[in-house]
């Protein structure tokens, strides 16, 4: 079976700016796949190429084995899409807007599922779109993407603007879609969200795929940032342990980052008098620095001799 999504050496230039620098990515069907990266990394550009809203400078993109450019109508027929910058026809009522979207795919109408989505997301379709709050607009965007039960859901920042309870409901809806054999590809710049929702994740940075990871594996490699306050200034070099990095110290307080060396770090500090111990949620940047800056440097080093040849 063809993969749900396949991108091969996709480059995209906007004038002199190179937005994508050779994206290679294969996503098999039947999973929730997160697309994680900081703002401006190329997530939206990649997504819009899949739907033929923009054209790659070079490389190919396909959805369910269909070429995104040559078979774009069929690709879009089989996809549900939530734009990252969601703009709807403000003057229309929600129900009229959903009818309009429905009218593009009459063969796939499922009014009962549409009603169920509206109820579960607590969205009133009789309101004009311009009167909806940002969160409710996002819900409307999700309903229009989901309501035909498309084979592939392509969602650009789906939980943006939603409160935590609604985010949970959205997570359930996506899980149900996948249980029904569909594929969800969604972007986010928030690591915990990707961890919570998806089975696998691709990390995009500066227009290239920095890594593709299984979430279970990613969790086992979680980054821990600890802030430890000692009663006495601790000896220097205390944290010269494998898998541990001392970030900085400020008097008796030391900040360390532990990858797979958490256990060793805890055992070392157990011998000292500890006044306070805090753990911090690692930011996406910490995560990247911890996992990928080293490997990127290695790659650059490896690449040099090849170029010289």
């Amino acid at each position: 079976m063809a993969p749900a999504i396949e991108l091969r050496s996709v480059f995209k230039d906007y004038g002199r700016v190179r937005a994508l620098r050779g994206i290679d990515l294969t996503i098999e069907s039947g999973q929730i796949f997160g697309f994680l990266g900081p703002n401006g990394a190329g997530k939206t550009t990649t997504i819009r190429i899949l739907l033929d809203l923009i054209r790659p400078t070079s490389g190919t993109a396909s959805v369910l084995g269909l070429d995104s450019q040559r078979e774009s109508v069929e690709v879009r027929r089989r996809c549900g899409y939530l734009p990252g910058d969601l703009r709807m026809y403000e003057g229309m009522r929600g129900s009229a807007f959903l009818d309009l979207i429905d009218s593009f795919r009459p063969q796939k109408r499922d009014p009962q599922y549409r009603r169920e989505l509206l109820e579960r997301l607590e969205l009133d379709p009789s309101m004009p779109i311009r009167a909806l709050s940002k969160g409710n607009k996002q819900k409307m965007g999700l309903v229009q993407a989901l309501m035909h039960r498309p084979d592939v859901l392509i969602l650009d920042e789906p939980t943006s603007g939603l409160d935590p309870l609604v985010q949970q409901e959205v997570a359930k809806l996506l899980e149900e879609a996948v249980a029904g054999g569909r594929t969800v590809f969604f972007s986010s710049h928030v690591l915990p969200e990707v961890e919570r929702l998806s089975h696998a994740v691709a990390i995009i940075r500066e227009g290239t795929i920095a890594a593709v990871e299984d979430i279970a594996r990613l969790k086992s490699r979680a980054v821990h940032v600890l802030e430890i306050t000692f009663a006495e200034p601790p000896p220097t070099g205390l944290f010269a342990l494998p898998g541990v990095r001392e970030l900085h110290r400020d008097g008796n307080t030391v900040h360390i980052q532990a990858l797979d060396g958490l256990d060793a770090a805890i055992k070392v500090i157990a011998a000292y008098h500890i006044v306070d111990l805090r753990t911090e949620q690692p930011s996406l940047e910490d995560f990247f620095l911890a996992h990928y800056s080293a490997s990127a440097e290695e790659k650059d080093r490896d690449a040099l001799p090849a170029e010289r040849r």
Partner: protein, 279 residues
């Protein structure tokens, strides 16, 4: 079949109040001009307009005749209103949707780009015909009740004759909106061309040494109220519609080849604009 015309339906729904608004203006003006004719008949009977003034009236129908009067007071200028409508729609079709950002959701539906352009064009053809039809309704509600030497058939032909020129300006503004995805720039370009067309025709008629100018003006091929007297000049109609079709074709080609933008393009320099327009 119905779903294949959903963009036509949506566009017409969006335009309904515009169509009604323009339509009422057309209806009121056409009826008014016919109803005032009897009181002007004797006043204008003796008027011999100088050639230069006659030229401003858009056709060589004598002002002292009913057809010349209706042509000068209605058919010479009312198409400018119709052009305002078609330019609004033409710049809205692509540049407007890109500017408001709604195009991303629209074009993520199973719809080809050419299909989108063609459907929006069909909607504008229907909308323009309805507005011109309102104008005819004004004649229908006046000519039978007034002593005037114009037939309903002649009025109907002259009303229908407005459509090719209005659609030409629609197509030009559509194309501008595709190559300069910014509604303000596209409207500016289209309105400038419409204004130039109007004045070229007028100046060409008034200044004999510049008479060849008129061949560059759609208003010359339109001919104001002439169809009331001479019937429709099909060669002119075909020429106007041919140029309109050419610009719709150019739009389809340029829109199909380029990236869809969100928010359109802004702060384009004149050089960039000319570059885009000249391809």
């Amino acid at each position: 079949m119905r779903y294949r015309l959903n963009v036509v339906e949506k566009s017409l729904r969006d335009q309904k109040w515009q169509i009604v608004g323009f339509g009422i203006a057309f209806l009121a003006m056409s009826a008014l001009i016919v109803y005032i004719w009897p009181s002007y008949r004797t006043t204008v009977a003796s008027i011999q307009l100088p050639e230069a003034v006659q030229a401003l009236l858009g056709s060589d129908l004598a002002y002292s005749t009913a057809a010349g009067f209706v042509s000068a007071e209605y058919f010479s200028w009312i198409p400018i209103l119709l052009i305002v409508y078609t330019v609004i729609q033409g710049t809205g079709a692509i540049a407007g949707e890109e500017g408001s950002g709604t195009i991303d959701l629209l074009m993520s539906q199973p719809l080809t780009r050419s299909g989108m352009v063609v459907q929006k064009t069909v909607a504008v053809c229907i909308g323009s015909a309805l507005i011109a039809g309102f104008g005819f309704l004004g004649f229908l509600l006046s000519i039978p009740f007034v002593d005037i030497e114009i037939t309903l058939k002649g009025a109907a032909l002259a009303c229908a004759n407005m459509l090719p020129m209005a659609l030409l300006y629609y197509a030009v503004s559509l194309w501008f909106g595709s190559v300069l995805p910014n509604r303000a720039y596209a409207s500016g370009g289209a309105i400038a061309l419409a204004t130039a067309g109007y004045f070229f025709n007028t100046i060409a008629s008034a200044v004999s040494s510049l008479s060849w100018f008129k061949y560059g003006s759609p208003f010359y091929y339109y001919g104001a109220g002439l169809p009331m007297v001479k019937g429709i000049d099909w060669s002119h109609v075909l020429l106007l519609l041919g140029v309109a079709a050419l610009f719709v074709g150019l739009t389809v080609r340029s829109f199909a080849r380029r990236d869809i933008t969100i928010g359109g393009a802004s702060n384009l320099r004149l050089r960039d604009m000319l570059g885009r327009v000249l391809g």
